[in-house]
């Protein structure tokens, strides 16, 4: 039973998060910061998430090609 649950969890982790969890972490943090800037500081930070996505991709590619992930 526990083995089946572990396999189920591992499948969904791989399905959504994939090979590099740091990409997912950067996207989530960027969304949280965007929401804070918009709602707390009144800044329409439309540029933040695209920049974070480009940075996350560059960071992940760097890690993959240097054998760190």
């Amino acid at each position: 039973m526990i083995r089946a649950l572990k396999s189920f969890g591992a499948f969904w982790y791989d399905f959504v998060i994939g090979d590099d969890w740091q990409v997912a972490a950067i996207v989530v943090v960027a969304l949280a910061v965007t929401a804070l800037l918009v709602h707390a500081a009144g800044i329409n930070a439309w540029w933040l998430l695209p920049l974070a996505a480009f940075a996350a991709l560059a960071w992940s590619l760097h890690r993959a090609t240097s054998g760190k992930s």
Binding site: G18, V27, L31, L49, L61
Partner: protein, 268 residues
Amino acid sequence: MTALPLVLTVFVACAVEAIEALTIVLAAGLTREWRSTFQGMAAALVVLAAIVAVLGPTITLLPLTALRLVIGALLAIFGLQWLRKAILRAAGYKALHDEASAYLREVAAAKAAPEVHKRGVNDWYAFTLSFKGVLLEGLEVVFIVITFGANQHNIGAAVIGAAAAVVVVTVTGIVVRAPLSRVPENALKFAVGIMLTSFGTFWGAEGAGVRWPGDDAALLVLVPAVAAVSLGYAAWLRRAHRLSAAPGQTAGAAGPASVTESEEVTGR
């Protein structure tokens, strides 16, 4: 956004998944037994239909802002993983996805497996191979249909795009009776990664409260920007990989820094 970009995006994304499912079904059917293969395929389609029937209406009940935030985040993460792999393939750090060799691997495994009669199925191996292949690839189709359809409040258009892709790939597969290895699958995956990342970023930021300059027209800038940056990364890495290859060695997937990842699980 009109329905056409939605239908086209879902069509291309789902065609890629359908091609991979077709390879597995053909390997099971031609090597083992068609009846058990079709049973496996039908069982997987029933499970997928149940997931759409439950998730589709439920997800559209969520408030639009929350929906866009969660789905945007998921799509952006999902899309960036597709792009990452597509760029690594384009740069030569990872072997290109090849349906012909994937088919040969599945055929070799299918020929080696014993024939077991189980739960009313003549060939359990053909059944499970077909079931898992269609379910895994189909889950990505379901994910794309539900996320794109729900965000645009047009699940019908997304279903039409997905169904058209499955029909086109299936009919082509029946005619050719071989894996669709001539389809530029890696280029398609690159394009899908760009679309998923762009739409995910757009919807995610909207869900976080952002108002995009030009509203939906911002996508006309965002999609080319994501494409340009991704192609730039690929060109840069290709050059770096070529330079790092040893003298006299052709830079390729088996080069000094080849990357091994979980493609066989997700199919991305």
